[in-house]
Assembly symmetry: C2
Homo-oligomer: 294 residues x 2
C-alpha cells in the first residue's frame, strides 16, 4: 500500500469506530465530514515518510500515529474555522463544519476528533505499549499547552506576542510531531528529529503566507487575506514576495541538511523537496523562474 | 495524604506544566480558572476509592488517572457552558470561563484540558506502560464518540433520541470511567466495574434533576431549570419528586450490590452511600424524612 492509502485506511477505520451504533447520527456525520475530502494529508505523509526512512519496523504503530496526527489537524481546522476565531465559511472547497452542521456539532466534532486521536494510539498499544505511550506524549505535547497548536492559537489573544513561540506552536508544532512520531514509531530516538519538523513547519508557514497573498478564494478553497484581517504576523508583509520566496529556499536547505543519519536519508531529502514544490502556487513558480541566474 | 489532597496535588502539577513559559498568559490563566475551585471532585474521588478498595498497588498511576478524569470533566463543563450550548453565565459560583475570558479562550481551554488529560496519563506510563495505555483507552472511550460525553452532548442535537444511550453517554460515562480506571490503575480487570459506575451515574443524574428542580441559582452556583429550558429528559418531570427520590434509592441499592469482590468492598459501599447523601439537597432530605414508615 502506498502512504496515502495507508493513511486513508487508518482514518476511515477510526471514524467508523467512532460512528458505531447507537450514536447520535448528526455528530457521527460531522466526524466523517471533518476528515473528508482529505486535502494533501501533508503531516501524516511526512510522519510515514520518516518512519519508512527509519526502517518502518512497526507499520501498525506508524499508521496509528499518522492517523492520530491527522485527526488532531482536522480537529484544529474545525475549531479554528468557528465564528469566534476565523469565522470561515469555506474549508477544502466546501462549507466549514459549523456552516454545514451548526456550531454545537462543530465544537463537539473537534472535541471528539481530539479524543479519537489518543484512542487510536491507545488501541495500537499492544504492539508496543511503551512506544505507544511515548507517541501519545509527543502528540499531546504538540497539541496542547504550552507548546502545541492550542498554545499557538492562544497567542492570538495576547497583546504582546512571543513571535518565535507563536510560530513554533501555531504551525511548526504538528510538523515536529510528524517527524518525531515517525521516528519513534519506527523505534528510533525522537529527539534528533525535532529540527527537521521545526524547519518544515517554518517553510510551510511561509508557503501559506505566500498562497494567502497570491491566490484567490476559489483556488485556495478557503477565505484569503485572513492574516491581514486578523492582524497576524506574516512573512510576505515582513519581507515582500521575493524576500519570502528566498527565505523559504533557505529554510528548506536547512531542513534537508538537518535530516539525521538513517537508512532512507537520501530518499527523505527528495521527498521533502517534492512536498515543498507541491505547496508552491503557480504564480510563485513563475516568480521563482524569473529570479536572475536561475 | 487523603484522597482530595492527592487529587488536588495531581491537578495542580498538571496545570503548572501546561503553564510553563513561554506560553500565552491568558490561556494559561484560563486553564487554572477552569479547574478551581474544585467542586466536589466526585469522579476522581470515586476513582481513587475504587483503586484503594482494590489495593492501590500503583498510587502514582491512580493519581494520574484521577487527575486525567477530572481534567476531562472540567473541559466538558467549560465547553457545555458556551453560548451555543447552555449559555451559562455562572459555574461553581463564579463567571463561566467564556464570561471571564471570552469564547475563543474558553474553547481553547477546553481543548487544552482534554489534551492535558491524555498527556498526564502518558507521562505516568513508565510506571506500567500497558496499564497506562489501557487507562488512556478507557478514558477516551468514555469521553468521545460513540460512548462518551461528547456523544451524550451530541444526542441533544438529534430529533429522535435513544434515551438509554443518551443518559449512559451524557452522565454515566465519566462514572463508568471512574470505577473502571480505578480498578485498572490498581491492576484489576476493568470490566466487572462497569455496572457500579453506570448505576452511580444514573443516581447522580436523578440527584442532579432533583437539585435542578428544588434549589435556587445562588445555592447551586449555576443556572437552574436548564433541562426544562432545553427540553431535555428529566427524572423529576417523569416521576415527580417523590418518585424520583424512590428511584434514586433503588438505583443506589443496586449500585452497592454490584460492587465486585475486592479487599475494600465494605468500605467502598459505605463511601458510595455517603457520597449519595452529600449530593442530597436539604429540601430533599426533609421530604425524605416525611416518607411514612421511615
Amino acid at each position: 500500500m502506498d502512504l496515502s492509502a495507508r493513511i486513508d485506511a487508518a482514518i476511515h477505520a477510526a471514524i467508523r469506530q467512532g460512528q458505531a451504533a447507537p450514536s447520535p447520527g448528526k455528530l457521527a456525520s460531522a466526524l466523517h465530514y471533518s476528515v473528508t475530502p482529505g486535502g494533501a494529508r501533508i503531516r501524516p505523509t511526512l510522519l510515514l515518510s520518516v518512519a519508512k526512512a527509519c526502517g518502518d519496523e512497526n507499520p501498525a504503530l506508524a499508521d496509528a500515529a499518522a492517523c492520530a496526527l491527522e485527526l488532531i489537524h482536522c480537529a484544529s481546522l474545525v475549531h479554528d474555522d468557528l465564528p469566534c476565531f476565523d469565522d470561515a465559511d469555506l474549508r477544502r472547497g466546501k462549507p466549514s463544519v459549523h456552516r454545514a452542521f451548526g456550531e454545537p456539532l462543530a465544537i463537539l466534532a473537534g472535541d471528539s476528533l481530539i479524543v479519537m486521536a489518543f484512542e487510536v494510539l491507545a488501541r495500537a498499544a499492544p504492539h508496543d505499549p511503551l512506544r505507544a505511550a511515548g507517541l501519545i506524549g509527543l502528540l499531546a505535547g504538540r497539541t496542547g499547552m504550552p507548546n502545541g497548536i492550542c498554545a499557538g492559537q492562544g497567542w492570538e489573544s495576547e497583546a504582546v506576542v512571543d513571535l518565535s513561540a507563536y510560530h513554533r506552536a501555531k504551525t511548526a508544532a504538528l510538523f515536529i510531531a510528524a517527524t518525531q512520531m515517525g521516528a519513534l514509531a519506527a523505534g528510533q530516538d525522537a529527539e534528533p528529529w525535532e529540527e527537521l519538523g521545526a524547519r518544515i513547519g517554518e517553510a510551510f508557514q511561509v508557503a501559506d503566507d505566500l498562497r494567502d497573498a497570491l491566490l484567490d478564494e476559489e483556488t485556495l478553497g478557503k477565505p484569503v487575506g485572513q492574516d491581514d484581517l486578523h492582524g497576524r504576523p506574516n512573512a510576505v508583509s515582513e519581507f515582500g514576495i521575493d524576500g519570502a520566496i528566498a527565505r523559504m529556499r533557505d529554510i528548506l536547505a536547512g531542513a534537508i541538511s538537518s535530516i539525521p543519519r538513517c537508512p532512507g536519508e537520501a530518499r527523505l531529502a527528495k521527498l521533502v523537496t517534492a512536498q515543498a514544490e507541491a505547496l508552491t502556487p503557480l504564480k510563485w513558480r513563475a516568480d521563482q523562474a524569473r529570479v536572475p541566474g536561475e
